[in-house]
């Protein structure tokens, strides 16, 4: 049985008894199943901008053509209270069928795809190719002066690769943002 102390600073105690986790911001990956109807993405994004929530990453595509359902994957940051609000607000929307918090629900596979264009000569060119091999990046296009690499992995891995390529002639990159699914045989 816990002590019957009230949360928050109060008359009885000089200490702040607020739940310390209340103010702790964390990233959450939300998987949102929606009707694939026009404007649905605008609705979801409008909710985030209108209520001042963060979007760190966002991807969307149709995943069930028969049922006309799309999956939106959003990575957002907030305190537990804010994250709960986000989920409740999303669930209120008519075209939203399910909101799965992959960060809470269990282990999830999270992947991003990125394309890098590296323009370099001589040693730098060789080094970029060597590093790409280490990262298992694929060459998807090349000229005598450039390579275009495709890399899939966690966001960290993509960040690390980008960092390594920067001094080797990285000219531009494009990345998809995170897609994710729960691990195991349960569907999320």
């Amino acid at each position: 049985m816990s002590l019957k102390l009230k949360k928050g600073v109060n008359k009885q105690s000089a200490y702040n008894l607020r739940d310390p986790n209340l103010d702790y911001e964390a990233a959450h990956t939300l998987s949102i199943i929606v009707d694939n109807e026009s404007g649905v993405l605008a609705r979801v994004i409008g909710l985030f901008s209108g209520r001042g929530y963060n979007i760190d990453s966002l991807t969307v595509a149709e995943v069930d053509p028969d049922g006309q359902r799309s999956r939106i994957t959003i990575v957002t940051t907030g305190t537990p209270k804010v994250i709960n609000q986000i989920k409740a607000q999303l669930n209120r929307m008519v075209p939203v069928h399910e909101v799965i918090d992959l960060t809470i629900k269990g282990k999830a596979v999270q992947r991003e795809l990125a394309i890098f264009k590296v323009v370099a000569n001589g040693n730098q060119r060789v080094e970029s190719l060597r590093l790409a091999d280490v990262f298992r990046a694929k060459v998807v296009d090349s000229t005598l002066k450039s390579f275009t690499f495709e890399l899939t992995g966690t966001s960290d891995k993509i960040d690390a690769f980008a960092e390594l390529m920067a001094p080797l002639g990285l000219k531009e990159m494009a990345r998809t943002g995170i897609v994710a699914l729960l691990r195991g045989d349960n569907s999320s």
Binding site: K6, K81, N91, R92, P95
Partner: protein, 586 residues
């Protein structure tokens, strides 16, 4: 379906509305909705009320909806017609009022071309509706309209909009009946968390200083929720207070009634909220007008929260026992289980609690100094209450001091009798709302308690009142000031009254006469009763210009950023009563 079975989109709209049991539409025509108006002209089942501005159509629909429990319906044209409806949609969203707006749109092949009177209506109204639709296929029109009604009326009610391009109105398509649509888009109410409920009940049984704090959700949930609430109060003998939106759920004459709570609530209601050890929040949402300073809000209570909307839970105030679902269902289960367990309450402690409450009541926080030379606004509302309460009466208000005085001094015995703009605080709400109410209740006494500044915001609706011979009574507490703004400037901004007076006011009596209705002016407290009776007895619309004290402040008041137990009771304005932190709050 063969070609012969098809009807035009415009016919579909009317047919779908009739199918939904709609008998009244508030609206204003224009190019993009003409085919629908053409159909309207050729039928007899739906009555159309031509307002004088689309904002008024939405507020009238709100008044209609809130006074009947039905869904309000509005027609507007594209572009400016649709944008004019935005304030009403937002108002309805904030106060959970079910209305359906059907807007005309430029033809599908012109959308995106900056066509004449084109606006991205669905884009503009996305954040101020529960949901909205642009219908591009006549075959989907009926289904969409039925869905719109379903969405507006179920769960936490709210406004929806259906945007219908003109070519879709002209084209032919199949009609889908109301009962033929799939309802899989409706969110199911979650089942009641019985463990949580039992925990809440055991806290209720032990509570030493309980309070029930109810809100508009009880009214939206319907008659059985209201009855259960009353049974609960009677059974437990707990004190009850209510938000602005919930007035009438528990009768104002009931012995457990503490009056409204919040920023301009009574001392006893707010002190009870602050000092309670058990709070039962029913269909209210811990709005900032209610809580005052969040971290000082009812610091020592166990909080139970009944709400149909999961996003209302733990949004502003973290509660101990959230119970998600329809208030009427949860309350009936709660009552049944509590009775099964022996209908226990902590009687001894409860009577001590009532003693403290009665002491707070003794403060008489609604007291004011009356005058025999000038009409005090509180006195005017009190007399209005006295002389009209025995009538079959509905009251709407505008927004400002007069609204708070009406909430403080008028007593509501039943729900759906009090219509006011709570969440959005929309000046200009009351007059058109009173029109919607009167349309729904042709023989009732409908009064709009107004401030002169708010009333002017939708004064064009005099035309509507005259055209449909609606005997609405516009009771204007005329202080020649944006009174509530003036009050804040006095208390917060060093008495610098920046643009808070109503200059160049019309002669309201002459204005009434210009419209061929009755105008009454009263500035003598001794004449007030007679003049109010004259207003009531007059069979048509009345514009009552009640000239009141210009500098009266509305008390009690919890200044922004302060706690419930720091309320200001009267003119003894304290130094620095509002902190710098509080001053940034609205």
């Amino acid at each position: 379906m063969t070609q012969a079975n098809k009807i035009t989109g415009a016919e579909i709209v009317i047919k779908a509305l009739i199918d939904q049991g709609v008998d009244t539409v508030f609206g204003y025509p224009g190019g993009a909705i003409l085919p629908i108006y053409d159909e309207l002209f050729q039928q007899k089942k739906i009555k159309h009320i031509l307002v004088r501005h689309e904002q008024a159509a939405t507020h009238a629909a709100e008044g209609y909806a809130r006074s009947t429990g039905k869904i309000g319906v509005v027609f507007v044209t594209s572009g400016p017609g649709a944008t004019n409806s935005v304030t009403g949609l937002t108002d309805a969203l904030m106060d959970s009022v079910p209305i359906v707006v059907i807007s005309g749109q430029v033809p599908t092949f012109m959308i995106g071309n900056d066509a004449f009177q084109e606006a991205d209506t669905v884009g503009i109204t996305r954040p101020c509706t529960k949901h909205n639709w642009l219908v591009k296929d006549t075959n989907k029109l009926a289904e969409t309209i039925h869905k719109a009604f379903e969405v507006a009326g179920t769960g936490r009610p709210g406004p929806v909009l259906v945007d219908v391009p003109k070519d879709v109105q002209f084209a032919s398509g199949c009609y889908t009946k109301k009962n033929e649509i799939k309802k899989n888009f409706i969110k199911k109410d979650p089942s009641i968390d019985l463990n949580m409920l039992d925990e809440a009940i055991s806290r209720l049984e032990l509570a030493e200083r309980p309070i029930i704090y109810s809100g508009g959700g009880v009214i939206n949930s319907g008659r059985s929720a209201v009855n259960s609430l009353r049974n609960l109060v009677a059974g437990t003998n707990f004190p009850i207070t209510s938000t602005l939106m919930g007035l009438g759920c528990y009768p104002a004459s009931g012995k457990n009634w503490l009056g409204m709570l919040g920023m301009h609530g009574t001392y006893e209601a707010n002190m009870s909220m602050h000092d309670c050890d058990f709070m039962l929040c029913i269909g209210a949402r811990f709005d900032d007008r209610i809580t005052g300073r969040i971290d000082a809000f009812s610091p020592n209570s166990y909080k139970v929260h009944l709400d149909i909307d999961p996003s209302s839970i733990n949004k502003n105030i973290t509660v101990d026992a959230p119970l998600i679902g329809d208030v009427s269902q949860i309350l009936s289960v709660l009552l049944a289980r509590w009775k099964e367990r022996g209908s226990k309450v902590n009687e001894k402690k409860l009577s001590a609690w009532w003693k403290s409450i009665n002491n707070w009541k003794g403060v008489q926080s609604l007291g004011y100094e009356n005058s025999s030379s000038v009409i005090k606004p509180q006195y005017a509302v009190q007399r209005l209450e006295e002389l009209t309460k025995s009538y079959n009466r509905f009251v709407s208000t505008e927004v400002g001091q007069h609204q708070m005085w009406a909430a403080q001094f008028m007593g509501f015995e039943e729900p759906n009798r009090w219509m006011t703009s709570g969440g959005l605080g929309t000046m200009g709400y009351g007059f058109p709302a009173s029109i919607g109410i009167q349309i729904a209740h042709p023989t009732s006494l409908v009064i709009n308690v107004a401030g002169e500044a708010s009333w002017l915001m939708n004064m064009q609706e005099l035309g509507t009142a005259v055209q449909y011979q609606l005997p609405v009574k516009q009771f204007i507490l005329n202080n020649e000031r944006l009174g509530m703004v003036r009050q804040w400037q006095e208390l917060l901004h060093g008495e610098r009254y920046s643009h808070s007076w109503s200059d160049a006011l019309p002669d309201f009596v002459k204005l009434a006469e210009a419209y061929g209705i009755k105008g009454i002016r009263c500035e003598d407290p001794a004449m007030l009763d007679d003049n109010i009776r004259e207003m009531i007895d007059y069979p048509g619309p009345v514009l009552f210009d009640c000239l009141v004290e210009k500098h009266e402040n509305c008390f009690p008041m919890i200044p922004s950023g302060k706690a419930h137990n720091e309320m200001i009771l009267g003119e003894q304005t304290e130094e620095n009563s509002i902190s710098d932190d509080g001053a940034v709050l609205v």
